[in-house]
Point group: C2
Chain length 349, copies 2
């Protein structure tokens, strides 16, 4: 057992799990800041160009050719002790299982983002896999990099978010997690008191699920694309979302924490203005060009229902908060997609 | 008390309640067939041209200038003993109250259509108003005339439906109702064994409510109209409607009656083809040009939820049939429109 309270140095190597938009951008950013980076992706094809060249070409607010120590689809070849999980939250459980043989008490795992109760799920999955000395597990509310992968080994970082909330599953662990984090990266995060706050501040589940379900015909009509936020969230949809959002805030309150309303979050993050959710969305420039999914088989439902609304409803049940609107959205998603999202979803507290 | 079993003659005068598309078209059709017709509409403006001229100019499959005996917004001036109620079903209760002072046991009232449990509501409302000798009350499944009112006193009858189901609240009354009906009109109707069948064969509540609620953003986006059936009822919406429809059929079954599925009804009424509801709708020419509402304040919700789905759910509860999808649609309508449709709606059996 190492002594954790003194002489904790930032990790010199970071293992990035996931070669999508965020993973490749995070890997490039870390490497360009002088950190040794390894990169993993389940499907090798997606990172073949990084494997072949050992490089990621990064443009945008961070630019340069980043040298990657190793990229692989075999986790055992690239794992190290500071793990940055940059996959969709639906992969968290599988990654915990793959990581279990390498996990130990000095390891740090940051789920970026955790969605809802990701850190809890990760911890429980490691324990189920027989890991006794659990890593320090943390989760973030959202991602730092606004980015898009290009072809091959290219990525573009369009913006960096400030003040992204981060919390550790064991609240006292957060100082250790931040101490081990590469120094340049710390400035993008602010500490939250609990994963209850990061998990229940996941506004994606509010802004993604119901608007898709309230525009199914539009989503499935192939010759008419529409803007998810600007058109899909019409006045009546926004009023419904405010009811869902109020239930989310009430659950956090019942668990002892204050979380922002989605309206307040929009005002803080995007300087949106207006007296209600509809008006705030209409004044959010970042949403102007975001198109809606063209199919219901999309993370706005497949990820945000089981890893957002389902754990939120589960927590509500356990603390006696009434959430009829959240229940309605889950029921509708289950019925429309013919899936039992409650059975698949995260039910922890 | 008249003897009802012999010498029953068709009514020579018919009182048409409601001066909308159907009322004006029905009045014209009756008058052109030689029946004395009176016409009522709550708002006088809507029928002012008929009041002024005493005529309705009818084009389409029925054409000619129909002479109307009297049109008025004062029911006492135009009421007679064969009453054809051609209003939206949301007006049935008010009309029953207005008609109560004139109601008697030899009167015939036909609700066209009853929507769900209209005849039951009409009868109970008359009784509540103190009518002891109740009229013969019947309801139809849908309307005979496919029609559109024009400006002033013009109307256009585009098509006439055959085999529209009609049932009397007291099953034995149906022969009296049909005997009193103008002879030319009888051919458009077929007898149903019970108002359970006409009421639960109301497919509007299946085809109207959920598709609007599953396209709210599209409905409320003012610069993009869309076709309710052809675009709003996409594959996933149609699959959801099949679940709603199966619950409707199961409720009828539990009450002792077989009703058609909406798919079977489309095949019979419109010669639609296909193996499922989506395919049948795509092959229904009559639906090709029907646009969706441009607001949620529309009869597809305001009428079809309280006078269709609510009584259906109520009947289901009483016969122990599980209707989670119907409940979901009602809940969603209540939440989105901030109305308690269950409190406003018909709850009879």
């Amino acid at each position: 057992m190492v002594e954790k309270t003194v002489d904790i140095k930032p990790a010199s190597r970071v293992f990035v799990c996931g070669g999508g938009h965020q993973g490749v951008s995070m890997a490039a950013h870390l490497a360009l800041e002088g950190v040794d980076v390894t990169l993993w992706n389940r499907s090798q094809d997606n990172i073949q160009a990084v494997i072949d060249t050992g490089q990621i070409e990064c443009t945008g607010v961070i630019s340069g050719v980043a040298e990657i120590e190793k990229a692989s689809s075999d986790l055992s070849e690239v794992v190290s002790d500071f793990v940055f999980v940059a996959t969709p939250s639906s992969a968290h459980k599988d990654i915990a299982r793959l990581l279990a043989p390498f996990a130990h008490g000095d390891m740090v795992v940051v789920l970026s983002p955790g969605r809802t109760f990701g850190a809890l799920e990760f911890s429980k999955t490691l324990a189920e896999e027989g890991v006794e000395d659990l890593p320090h597990i943390a989760e973030t509310q959202t991602i730092v990099h606004t980015c898009r992968r290009g072809e091959g080994n290219r990525t573009s970082i369009l913006a960096l978010k400030q003040d992204v909330m981060i919390a550790a599953l064991e609240p006292s662990d957060i100082s250790y997690v931040l101490a081990r984090m590469p120094a340049f990266l710390r400035r993008y995060y602010i500490e939250a008191p609990s994963v209850i706050v990061t998990s229940l501040s996941n506004v994606g589940m509010v802004l993604h699920c119901a608007p898709v379900l309230m525009n199914i015909g539009w989503v499935e009509t192939p010759y008419v694309g529409f803007k998810h936020y600007y058109e899909g969230i019409s006045p009546s949809v926004a009023r419904f979302l405010e009811k869902v959002d109020a239930e989310r805030v009430a659950v956090a309150k019942a668990l002892g924490y204050d979380v922002e309303t989605t309206t307040a979050w929009l005002r803080r993050t995007y300087n949106s203005t207006g007296s209600n959710l509809y008006e705030c969305i209409r004044t959010t420039d970042a949403y102007k060009e975001i198109y809606a999914p063209s199919s219901l088989q999309h993370r706005y439902l497949l990820e945000d229902v089981p890893n957002g609304l389902v754990p939120l409803e589960y927590a509500a049940t356990h603390c006696g908060v009434d959430t009829p609107h959240i229940t309605m959205v889950i029921d509708l998603a289950c019925a429309v997609l013919d899936r039992d999202f409650r059975a698949e979803g995260r039910k922890y507290l």
